[in-house]
Amino acid sequence: MRRWHQLSEVAIEALIRLCGFSATIFVLGIFVFVCREAWPLWHNDAFHLSEFLFSIQWYPTSAVSKHYGVLAMIAGTFSVTLLAMTMAVPLGLGAAIYLGEFCPSRPREILKVLVEMLAAIPSVVWGFAGLTITSRLIVRYTSADVGVNLLNGALLLALMSLPIIVSLAEDALRAVPDEYREAALALGATRWQLTWRVLLPAARHGLVAAVLLGFGRAIGETMAVLMATGHAIHLPTSVFDPVRTLTANIAAELGEAPAKSTHYQVLFLTGVLLFLVTFAVNLTAGLIIRRERRP
């Protein structure tokens, strides 16, 4: 009987260790797979890395001359994500400050559940709302030529990344020790001064990490931007211009690209590019959080 217990102890420990490692194994596995599919491009004369990164000419199925430049999509991805962040960050931090510092505890619990429910809405539903509601409002109330555009996509991404920013920022604010609050109030600070001068600086690492993780969420989003941004290859010059993002381009074209063709490999290289960007963003956020935990 004791032996049986020892055995099960060992087995369960191994199982748990496997679970712990599995996330790492999957991430590495996916990265290796994506790189392997894109790898033959190095020996492909029809492909030039400089054209890939610095040209907007995206003609993967042209009957005359094929070009594989994703600059317009890089610009599209970053413009829609940054515009989304300019909306989501003030709103998200404001909501976090209210929830963490000003809100009485009972409404706070209800509000937190509601904010987290935003995260539970599937992205295709967001996309549908963008296609049928916000885009029509944009056409009606602005001078925009077309409603599915940069602003429309950014609006959806802002709402989608809001729950991440609010929950993480609120955690960061609540992690500030109460001694700070008590000391500030004892010195005669108003609640505004307390928030602005004491809490925000004390929680800044956590807040930056919250924003970066929200950014990572927004940059990787696919379905909603595919439906809501117009999917046009165009360097945006105004918030009313339609754009195409890297993720949406992969989603729209990977199914048709014949396996092992240059088009297929270039789409995988686009995946590598996205992977590196999100990896850098998440790694930065992770490092910042770690620095905060170890003062």
């Binding site: 000419q57 042209s62 339609p242 729209a252 048709e256 396996a259």
Partner: protein, 305 residues
């Protein structure tokens, strides 16, 4: 000894469960599944066919999905589906790839005809357009970018032509490029929609938009333009009669492809598609039915069934 007894009981429960699921499979609703994928233009037609066939033949379930002609062909070459719907002709390199991948030759069947309709917003005063004008709107370096260039004024002061296009896996996209742009490239910056219905929906909500799709996707909230072959010619609306009389300049065949010697079930299905019942469904879906032969034929199934 207790520890041994529990697993034995679990084993019994497991066996019962396995038995139950096996029973469930044996009594499944359909014996065979026929997989169809491809052209978005033909999606409504393929779904109508599948539904009617499923009611008639209880043994076969027809699964239909869209994605574009290119996706259908790609799936057929991998052997993932039985029938590829296609609104353009198979390319030589695709036929070669089929032979290399599966060792079989793709076979083509014409199942109907379609007119490629050109749509604008219903408030747009434009009524007619020529193939050359369409090319100048859509091609790279094209000269038409404002509605005033075409001599019309759009309500609400919007003058830029919002060019609505299809994603590159679409057979309609390739057909348009071949027959309207003479294989030149599309200008970048068009809004590339994933399906014909999205094209029509976007045009309905965008005053300055122009776009194209199969004739069956017309709705009352968008306006179909009459199209002329070249300036000076009369312009024709995309109707059944104009397609059959070869008047409408951008009409095409709706095709299905299978790999050579398909399963008996697939052959039966294709035969049924060409029957008067199948062709009546083509007409009911808003396309032009076909009798036989490569060229546009007089209507056969339509209205007589």
């Amino acid at each position: 000894m207790e520890q041994v007894a529990i697993p034995r009981r679990k084993c019994f429960v497991l066996l019962v469960l396995v038995g139950l699921t096996a029973c469930g499979h044996r009594n499944g609703p359909r014996a065979q599944t026929l997989r169809v994928r491809g052209s978005d233009t033909m999606l409504i037609l393929a779904q109508a066919w599948a539904e009617a066939y499923g009611q008639m033949n209880r043994r076969v379930a027809v699964e239909v999905s869209g994605g574009g002609s290119g996706q259908g062909i790609a799936a057929l070459l991998e052997g993932a589906i039985d029938i590829a719907n296609c609104s353009r002709n198979l390319k030589p390199e695709e036929a070669d790839a089929a032979q290399a991948n599966t060792g079989k030759v793709p076979q083509e069947v014409i199942v109907g005809y379609d007119a490629l309709a050109v749509f604008v917003h219903r408030d747009n005063p434009l009524e007619e357009i020529s193939i050359a004008q369409l090319a100048e709107i859509y091609r790279v370096g094209g000269r038409l970018s404002r509605w005033s260039d075409l001599g019309v004024r759009i309500p609400a002061g919007r003058n830029r032509i919002v060019v609505v296009n299809r994603q590159s896996s679409s057979g309609t996209y390739e057909f348009f490029r071949e027959h309207v742009l003479a294989n030149r490239d599309f200008a970048l910056g068009s809004l590339d929609m994933n399906g014909s219905k999205e094209v029509v929906d976007l045009i309905a909500s965008t005053p300055g938009a122009i776009g194209y799709s199969g004739m069956a996707f017309a709705t009352p909230v968008v306006k179909m333009l009459r199209v002329r072959r070249k300036s000076g010619d009369p312009a024709f609306a995309p109707t059944l009669a104009n397609v059959l009389a070869h008047h409408y300049p951008i009409s095409r065949s709706l095709l299905i492809y299978t790999l050579a010697e398909p399963r008996a079930m697939v052959g039966e299905y294709i035969h049924w598609l060409q029957s008067p019942t199948g062709q009546q469904i083509v007409a009911d879906s808003g396309y032009v039915p076909v009798c036989s032969g490569k060229d546009l034929a007089p209507p056969c199934g339509a209205g007589t069934n």
